[in-house]
Structure formats: structure tokens, C-alpha cells
């Protein structure tokens, strides 16, 4: 074997980038992620048929809400939001736990990247895929809405909607990766956040119902739940556009509030989840026994 001296790039950023590439390759090799991407794209395009049906109803005078076909892209991007959020959970939920479950963590953490670099690299890699998926979904939606419903309006909002969607979805993405590191169990770290995604809007709806029936100020309870901040993409769209594009979310429409507050709330959750995961990865033994 040769004994050549080594040189070349070996900076922390370089190591983080290599780990990020590793995470991208790892994530894209998972069937559930590929299925999720196909489902998200399928749901966006499929929602076009739903919107078309709603237009038919409106034109027949059977729908009291005015539907604007030039805002189809808003409707079509809102429909797969649960799938996109779930995809974030799947990406984050397996990020660390799968390394422990498959016992590849021992190899990964014994290499030159520090625990911090592995942590940052893996999140960066997962996030890059997630951003790409959301961006591709929005781009597909815009193209499909043009094809199905003609010229679209308010597209100047698209970059803001995209940014808000990415940031809002990071709440559950980071929640999943926190569980992934803390529990080292992929099933738990995926099922718990997805269950919360399902349950919390119901809790929000109940709270709003109680507020409206009792007259007490209970909305603040709904607003501290992570699902409120994760719906950030809704809040950056003016309310009348949401109505005209048929994006009817009973709870969030009642809770429709300051997007800046929602962004702050999301930031709080993201920081808390990431910090908990980081402290655990930094202090806990990679292996036991």
C-alpha cells in the first residue's frame, strides 16, 4: 500500500458538505421518500380536477363562494400541504435514528467530521432535499394551473409563499429530527409528529368552537400549538385571495393572524427542537456497551 502524504481541502465546511451529500444520497435511496414525492406531485395535479369541479359548481350557481380560476395555483399548492409536511417528518424522522438502528452511526461518527459537523451536515442535506421537493411541487403546480386554468394571477406572491411554506414546514421537520435523535427510533420519530399533525388541527378546531360558543378568549391556546406556526404559508396570502381560491381551512382562517408572529413562533419551535437534538448528539454516547 502506498504511503503518500495527504493534502487538499479539509475544512469544516468541506466536511459538512460531504456529510450533506451523504444524507441526500441516503434520503433519496428510501422508497418512502420517493413515494411521498410522487404523492405530493400527484395530489397537486389531482387537485386541479377538484378545482375544476368547484368552478363548474360556481358557474352553475350551486356554489355561493366566488371562485377565481386565475388563483388555481394557490388552491393546488394548498392541497398537498399535509403530504409535504409528512414528507418533512419522514425526512427528519429517519435522519439520525436510522443510523443508530442500522448501526452505521459507529462508522459515521468515527470519521473526521465532528459531531457538530455531522449534525449540521445531515440537517443541511435533509433540508436541501426538502426545499427541492417543495420548490418542485410549487413549480409543477404553477405550470399545471396554467395548463388547466389559463393565465394565473398574483404569481408575485409565489416566492413568499414558497419561503413561508419551507419555513413553516421546518417546524415538523425539526420536531421529527429531534425525536429521531432523542429516541433513536424511526417509528416513534415519524409516528409522533404525524399524529400531532393530524390531532392538533382538530384540537384547534375544538378550541375555536369553544371560544365562539363561550365567548372566552381561547385562541391563544390554539396559537401556541406548532401546527399554527407551521401553517405560515397560509398567513402570507391575503385572506380574500384564500377565499377566492377556495382554500378553506376553518381553524386557520379563524386564527388567521400576523405572519410575523407565526414566523416568530415557528422560529421558537425550530430552535427548541434543533437545540434539544444537538445537546443530545453532543453529550450522549454514540454506542453503548
Amino acid at each position: 500500500m502506498s504511503m503518500r502524504p495527504m493534502a487538499g481541502g479539509f475544512s469544516p465546511l468541506w466536511r459538512i458538505w460531504i456529510v450533506a451529500e451523504y444524507e441526500i444520497q441516503r434520503s433519496l435511496a428510501k422508497k418512502k421518500i420517493i413515494v411521498g414525492i410522487i404523492l405530493a406531485l400527484g395530489a397537486s395535479i389531482g387537485s386541479g380536477y377538484l378545482f375544476s369541479y368547484a368552478i363548474g359548481l360556481y358557474e352553475a350557481g350551486r356554489l355561493p363562494i366566488p371562485v377565481d380560476r386565475s388563483l388555481a395555483w394557490i388552491f393546488m399548492f394548498s392541497i398537498p400541504s399535509f403530504i409535504l409536511a409528512s414528507l418533512g417528518v419522514l425526512l427528519g424522522g429517519g435522519m439520525f435514528s436510522e443510523e443508530y438502528e442500522k448501526r452505521t452511526a459507529e462508522i459515521l461518527f468515527s470519521k473526521p467530521p465532528t459531531r457538530t459537523e455531522v449534525f449540521v451536515g445531515k440537517i443541511l442535506g435533509g433540508l436541501m432535499i426538502y426545499v427541492a421537493i417543495i420548490t418542485i411541487t410549487l413549480a409543477t403546480v404553477i405550470v399545471a394551473s396554467h395548463v388547466f386554468f389559463g393565465a394565473q394571477s398574483m404569481l408575485s406572491l409565489a416566492p413568499t409563499v414558497l419561503a413561508a411554506s419551507i419555513y413553516g414546514n421546518m417546524v415538523f421537520f425539526t420536531m421529527a429530527l429531534m425525536f429521531s435523535q432523542l429516541t433513536r427510533n424511526t417509528l416513534i420519530s415519524s409516528v409522533v409528529p404525524i399524529s400531532l399533525l393530524v390531532i392538533m388541527p382538530i384540537i384547534q378546531a375544538v378550541i375555536i368552537f369553544l371560544e365562539r360558543t363561550t365567548g372566552e378568549d381561547l385562541a391563544w391556546i390554539a396559537r401556541i400549538l406548532p401546527t399554527w406556526s407551521s401553517d405560515l404559508q397560509i398567513y402570507v396570502i391575503p385572506r380574500e385571495l384564500l377565499v377566492r381560491s377556495l382554500v378553506l381551512f376553518p381553524t386557520t382562517s379563524f386564527l388567521y393572524g400576523d405572519p410575523v408572529l407565526a414566523a416568530f413562533s415557528a422560529t421558537g419551535y425550530i430552535m427548541a427542537f434543533v437545540s434539544a437534538a444537538y445537546i443530545d448528539i453532543a453529550l450522549r454516547d454514540v454506542t453503548r456497551g
Binding site: 495527504m6 459507529e106 470519521k111 473526521p112 467530521p113
Partner: protein
């Protein structure tokens, strides 16, 4: 603290001092200390659960000790992780490698993450694949590899960046006999070339035929640490005589049992293995020959060695006061 001096290195490659690690009520390491110099091939022996893997994982910064410290190349690996582990190759026991990658992709990843210049990666990967006999399977996913192939790839990834310290946890586990012989030779060559190798194994033969130095760990205690030859002479001064006989070996064995200095005896085909007490005089070979002749057998071959590692190992464990547990085999 026991000490091993390498050929010419002023700074020991690896220093472990008073390392302690506890899992709940179990004390996995009870103040282990050792010092390893350059060019040393240290065999780490111990039964399952003795603390071998804990020691190795602590050296690799995968576990944090409760007290004590480790220095690699004179530096603290907890403070200079990247700088230090760039010069260390590690292969865990029965390595689990990323099954979504091909063998080639994985070696490329390891080379890059260890800072091998990009212009050299392709050549280095080919060299390693050829070395471990995986060139034909290079573009197959690791998930499709057999256990033995994963083991070989595990060795390749530990060596691809030309490390100065190589830490191998049961490196030949699951390999065929041919592979074991090949890798033993490879590890010896690497140590001769100046690399320091720490190799744990439950295969005593591997350590005996490969290592220059030996550490025996049991229930978190370092029972012995030093050169293999010194280990054997310190642990026991007994001799082992192997005799091949022509005739009925059981009759010869019967005759040999009558000799006062014979501590143990076993028959394997035409070979008889006799453990001779260290107190035997210099004429024990002659007495053995005479006893065999008297039994009506002829001696075809006779070899005399000091006690083998397996016996030394068993004895060190027995001396530790626990006769209920045998060595890991």
C-alpha cells in the same frame, strides 16, 4: 502503568490513562492504562463483555469515559477530533456499512471525508478494492454483499486514507480461512511499515500469529499488557511438546501420563500435545522419548515451544479468580 515502546517514536501513538467507564451498576472499564508506540501491533484479548469494545469505542471518541483520558499522537481527541481521526482508521466489529451505497461509492465517501485529495481518490479506491478482492463487486450495492465481503470492505475503508493508527475490532470475524491468513499478513506488513495497529479478537490464533504485543482485558481490568513473548514467559514458564508418533498414540499417551512433569496431555490423530511443567529439568525431552519408545511407538517428529497463547490466556483468566468463565472462543 505498563508501557510499549515503538521503534523510534518519541511521542507514543496512543496513551490511555486510568480510563473508567460505568453503565449503571456495571463497571465496564476499571482504570485501564496503556501506552502504545509506533509500529506496534497490539492484540486485545478478552471474553465477551470484558470491556474490549468499550475501550475501543472510547478510543474512537464514540463513548465518553467517566474519568481518565486518552491521547492519540500526543493530542486530546475530544478537543481535536478532526485532526486526529484523519490519521486513524477504524473498523467496528461486524461493521454495518451504508447499504444504499455501492462499495466504490462508500470508499469514495470515506476517502473524501478523510481529506484524501480528489485527484488521488479514484486510484486509491481501485487500489483498496483490489487489495481486499472486491474489484468485481465494486459497483454492487453494499446491501447485496455477503458478510465476508462487508468485512473486507470494512478493512478497506479503515485503510483507504493511509492512517498512522489502525483500530480494528474483530477484523477477521466471518472471513474464510484464506481471507484470515491474508489479512493477518496484511496487518503484519502494515505494522512493519510503521503503522500502529490495535486489533481486538476473540480468535486467539489471529492474535498469536499477528500481534507483537498483547493486552488481556477481563471484566474491565487490564490483566496483562506487554510483548507477546514476555506475556507467555511471565504468565507461564510451561513448555509445550508436540510429538507425532507412529503406532498407537493412546498407548504412548498412557505412558507419558506416568511422567511427573506432565501437567496436561491431549491426543489429536497421530499427534500428542504434552504440557510440561516449568519445574521440569532440562532432560524432559529425553524422558518423553524414552516413554514413547517403551509404549511401542516410534517418534516421527517432535516440536518444543513455550506455552501457547491460548493456555496463557486461560491461565491469566483463571488467575484472576474466576474459573466459571472460559475464554471467548
Amino acid at each position: 502503568m505498563a508501557e510499549i515502546d515503538g521503534d523510534d517514536s518519541a511521542t507514543p501513538v496512543l496513551v490511555v490513562r486510568d480510563l473508567r467507564k460505568r453503565y449503571g451498576r456495571i463497571e465496564a472499564l476499571k482504570g485501564v492504562s496503556l501506552e502504545v508506540g509506533r509500529g506496534v501491533l497490539l492484540g486485545l484479548l478478552g471474553p465477551n463483555g470484558s470491556g474490549k469494545s468499550t475501550l475501543i469505542r472510547t478510543i474512537m471518541n464514540l463513548q465518553t469515559p467517566d474519568s481518565g483520558y486518552i491521547r492519540i499522537f500526543g493530542r486530546d481527541p475530544r478537543k481535536e477530533h478532526s485532526t486526529i481521526y484523519r490519521r486513524v482508521g477504524y473498523m467496528p466489529e461486524l461493521p454495518n456499512l451504508p447499504d444504499f451505497m455501492t462499495g466504490r461509492q462508500f470508499l469514495e465517501f470515506v476517502a473524501r471525508v478523510n481529506g484524501v485529495p480528489s485527484g488521488e481518490i479514484g486510484g486509491r479506491v481501485r487500489e483498496m478494492l483490489e487489495l481486499v478482492g472486491l474489484s468485481d463487486a465494486a459497483d454492487r450495492r453494499i446491501g447485496k454483499y455477503s458478510k465476508g465481503m462487508v468485512q473486507r470492505l470494512g478493512v478497506a475503508q479503515a485503510l483507504i486514507h493511509d492512517p498512522d493508527l489502525v483500530v480494528l475490532d474483530e477484523p477477521t470475524l466471518g472471513m474464510d480461512p484464506e481471507g484470515r491468513v491474508f489479512f493477518r499478513e496484511l496487518f503484519r506488513d502494515l505494522a512493519r511499515g510503521g503503522k500502529t495497529i490495535l486489533m481486538s479478537s476473540h480468535l486467539l490464533e489471529d492474535v498469536e500469529k499477528t500481534a507483537s504485543h498483547l493486552a488481556i482485558i477481563y471484566r474491565g481490568d487490564l490483566l496483562f499488557f506487554g510483548e507477546i513473548g514476555r506475556a507467555l514467559s511471565l504468565i507461564s514458564g510451561d513448555h509445550v511438546v508436540r510429538v507425532e508418533v507412529d503406532g498407537d498414540p493412546s498407548r504412548a499417551a498412557e505412558a507419558l501420563r506416568g511422567l511427573g512433569f506432565v501437567r496436561d496431555l491431549s491426543v489429536d490423530g497421530s499427534w500428542i500435545k504434552i504440557v510440561v511443567s516449568r519445574d521440569a529439568g532440562s532432560g524432559f525431552r529425553r524422558e518423553i522419548s524414552e516413554a514413547i519408545y517403551r509404549s511401542g511407538c516410534l517418534i516421527l517428529a517432535m516440536e518444543t515451544t513455550t506455552v501457547d497463547l491460548e493456555q496463557a490466556y486461560i491461565k491469566s483468566l483463571r488467575d484472576c479468580g474466576d474459573r466459571s468463565r472460559g475464554p471467548a472462543t
